[in-house]
């Protein structure tokens, strides 16, 4: 079957706002795999915060905007399992009984993929042309893991990065405590969960934590920094694209100055 190369990038709000370098890493990976990448302007967020807060009217309004903006592309790719999961799993639920938007939501869902699983499962990318000198550990973000079955794909591609060693953390499949609004609404619970996660990451001895979702990475990275840990946190796309030369999440150019 013809592989979809006409790709629209769903940047995700966190990558757009907080860490554009992840977006450019995604673009490079897609282009290296032979795709043309378009970034529709009419995108902001997938609507998940509203959806998970029970505000379905706003979630549906935003979802309709996304569905319209991404019409016609062979594939829609997001550097996030959480946002891709929202579009793939939850848009069809939002419009289950809607004769107009239901079919359009299901059509978009079928064309939408998380970045690393798209490279691996759809484009059958065997390896990447990148080097990373160090030991890393990988956090399996919940939505990507449980809604989209992302587990082996990032590990398979990381295994082709020159110089990189992967060491698994205990409980790599246990939630880091981010959960969107959950982390600020229940900071005591979330704070304890992310502390457990940070300790498990530190215990691996890895110098870098990688993952596929900015929300989780900002949460774990923020906690590691608060603990004074030297572990660096990056999105997996940065390493796969050979673009891990920018400061890690929560670090600036002056890291170590104070």
């Amino acid at each position: 079957m013809e592989k979809p190369r006409d790709v629209a990038l769903f940047v995700t709000c966190l990558v757009d706002l907080m860490r554009p370098s992840v977006g450019f890493a995604a673009v490079k990976l897609l282009q290296d795999a032979g795709c043309t990448v378009t970034v529709p302007r009419a995108q902001t967020c997938c609507g998940q915060p509203a959806y998970n807060a029970g505000d379905e009217a706003d979630a549906a309004a935003i979802a309709r905007q996304v569905i319209a903006a991404f019409q016609g592309f062979a594939a829609v790719v997001a550097p996030s399992g959480s946002c891709a999961g929202m579009i793939k799993e939850h848009y069809p639920r939002l419009f289950a009984d809607d004769p107009e938007w239901g079919p359009r939501a299901r059509d978009l869902a079928a064309r939408t993929h998380e970045l690393v699983s798209f490279l691996r499962d759809v484009l059958a990318v065997e390896g990447v042309d990148a080097a990373f000198d160090g030991t890393v550990t990988y956090h399996d973000s919940c939505s990507g893991l449980r809604e989209l079955g992302i587990k082996a794909q990032p590990r398979a591609l990381l295994a082709t990065v020159a110089g990189l060693t992967l060491t698994e953390a205990e409980d790599s499949e246990v939630c880091c405590g981010f959960g969107g609004l959950f982390c600020v609404k229940y900071p005591d619970i979330s704070g304890q969960m992310v502390d457990n996660k940070a300790k498990a990451v530190e215990a691996t001895g890895a110098g870098t934590l990688l993952g596929g979702d900015m929300g989780c990475l900002m949460n774990i990275g923020g906690r590691l920094k608060r603990r004074g840990s030297p572990v660096q946190v990056r999105h997996v796309a940065e390493v796969l694209a050979g673009m891990a030369d920018v400061p890690a999440i929560g670090e600036g150019p002056g890291e170590g100055e104070d």
């Binding site: 709000c13 554009p20 902001t44 246990v174 600020v184 900071p187 619970i189 457990n196």
Partner: protein, 473 residues
């Protein structure tokens, strides 16, 4: 049982500050999940069995009236009696009346979540009848006047030292300086005391893991055998069960049993699985003279046909608790009522009201690990969202959260404005963070920065940079 669910956030803070509880929860969170995984891996048809188990319960829930009527007919036919209780108060009255008819002074009781729901022990005690819990964990928390901390392992929050202290304080007539160091010693002491109680009891009060419509049998599963002594020794047996416990056939019961123990403790089968049908027959050497089943609704029939019907498939294995990172952080008491963990978050608002339990569906990261391990494939995260949707529609979402969501949605729906202002805002935040790349605190972001630094944005947004590079639109 009186609920403390309204004080959820206070309960959470207390739980997180309890170092002993942390140690117990840590042990549980690392023990049960491994055992369950190994048990599932040993059984090639485990996933198929989960599908079958789900289908059996779905079929029951679609024909609940038929199977309950069939069950009642069989119980009656075999010499027993079924009592229907609309709510907890009715059930308590029925059980008290049966106990009084039997002139009961003491009642032995095996573990039952319905018993907790009814707070039957308090009720019997208030009317001069002494209830004695015979499951070791339940016995311990009864001595401590505490509610269960886990639907399966009620005393999971306690250390063996705490149990030893409880025994010293409660078991009169034994030397104060006796050695209670080893768990076996504790077990032996409890067993010696309970043995007397078993023999003296007038009524045996049990729960039921299942009710079999085909035969009128009740199924009881334990690892301690206490339910068997509870149901065979006293003159009268009273079974407390909720409506959805009924299954059509013995065959169906065995399908559920095959997923139950594996999901719960990683055992292939619990140590004791007992099918009991009616009172003692003429040719039986043992058993009660009278057999009563109290069928409790308590809000469940209202769940049939609605958003929460799937919750009625639950077989109380505890897998969702054992795998829940929130439960592992706060323990069972924080939920404030009989049930806890993900199943509690969905069920409790159904049984005691959404208003009282409004924190429960929200205190979840929706990580989905519960649904992943639920033997009955109950879509717990979906139902947590259903509660949130109802709360939002009913205006119960907090004013700040509502305002934040609405203003965020306003911007998200105006991409042009959003991109323009986002770029300005991110650049100014990046400048404010300076060369450090993160914030230690930020106004209005205390929820985040209380326990973690806030990574700063890199600078210009992706959208602005994509435009600047002339990227394809």
């Amino acid at each position: 049982m009186e609920s403390t669910t309204r004080a959820f956030n206070d309960n959470v803070r207390r739980a997180i500050g309890d170092a002993g509880l942390r140690r117990s929860l840590d042990k549980l969170g690392h023990g049960f999940p491994v055992k369950r995984r190994l048990a599932a891996e040993r059984l090639p048809e485990f996933e198929t069995l989960r599908d079958e188990a789900r289908d059996i319960k779905n079929h029951v829930l679609a024909n609940l009236d038929t199977y309950l009527a069939a069950f009642e007919a069989k119980v009656t036919e075999t010499g027993g009696q079924v009592h229907w209780a609309r709510d907890a108060a009715e059930a308590r009255d029925i059980i008290l009346a049966v106990c009084r008819d039997a002139s009961a002074r003491t009642v032995t009781k095996s573990k039952s979540m319905i018993g907790e729901e009814l707070a039957i022990n308090d009720h019997l005690e208030a009317h001069g009848i002494q209830p004695i819990e015979t499951d070791l964990g339940e016995y311990i928390i009864q001595l401590r006047h505490e509610p269960p901390a886990h639907i399966l392992a009620p005393a999971i929050h306690l250390s063996k030292e705490q149990v030893a202290d409880t025994f010293r304080a409660s078991h009169d007539g034994l030397p104060r300086d006796r050695d209670l160091e080893a768990p076996e010693t504790l077990l032996k002491e409890a067993r010696a005391i309970l043995r007397e109680k078993f023999l003296a009891a007038d009524v045996g009060l049990t729960g039921a893991n299942m009710l079999v419509a085909e035969t009128g049998s009740i199924v009881l599963v334990t690892n301690e055998g206490n339910a068997d002594l509870t149901q065979t020794l006293p003159r009268v047996q009273v079974v407390m069960a909720s409506l959805e416990k009924v299954v059509p056939t013995l065959e169906d019961a065995t399908t559920l049993l095959r997923v139950l123990a594996r999901s719960a403790t990683g055992q292939e089968q619990s140590v004791y699985t007992t099918f009991t049908t009616g009172p003692k027959r003429a040719e039986d050497p043992d058993g009660p003279d009278a057999f009563h089943v109290v069928l409790l609704d308590n809000g469940r029939s209202g769940m049939v046909g609605g958003d929460f019907q799937d919750m009625l498939r639950c077989i109380r294995c505890g897998a969702c608790l054992n795998h829940c990172p929130v439960y592992a952080t706060i323990g069972g008491h924080a939920y404030g009522w009989v049930y806890s963990g993900p199943m509690g978050k969905v069920l409790i608002p159904n049984l005691i009201g959404m208003e009282t339990a409004k924190d429960l569906p929200n205190a979840s990261s929706l990580c989905g690990r519960c649904e992943e391990v639920c033997p009955m494939r109950i879509p717990l995260p979906r139902m947590l969202r259903d509660w949130r949707r109802r709360q939002f529609a009913a205006g119960q979402t907090g004013i700040i959260a509502r305002w934040a969501l609405k203003s965020w949605a306003f911007w998200a729906r105006r991409p042009g404005l959003y991109h323009f202002f986002a770029d300005i805002k991110m650049r100014s935040l990046a400048a404010a963070a300076g060369r450090r790349g993160r914030f230690r605190s930020m106004v209005m972001a205390g929820g985040w920065t209380g326990s973690r630094d806030l990574p700063a944005p890199q600078g210009r947004t992706f959208q602005a940079q994509w435009d600047a590079r002339g990227g394809k639109r």
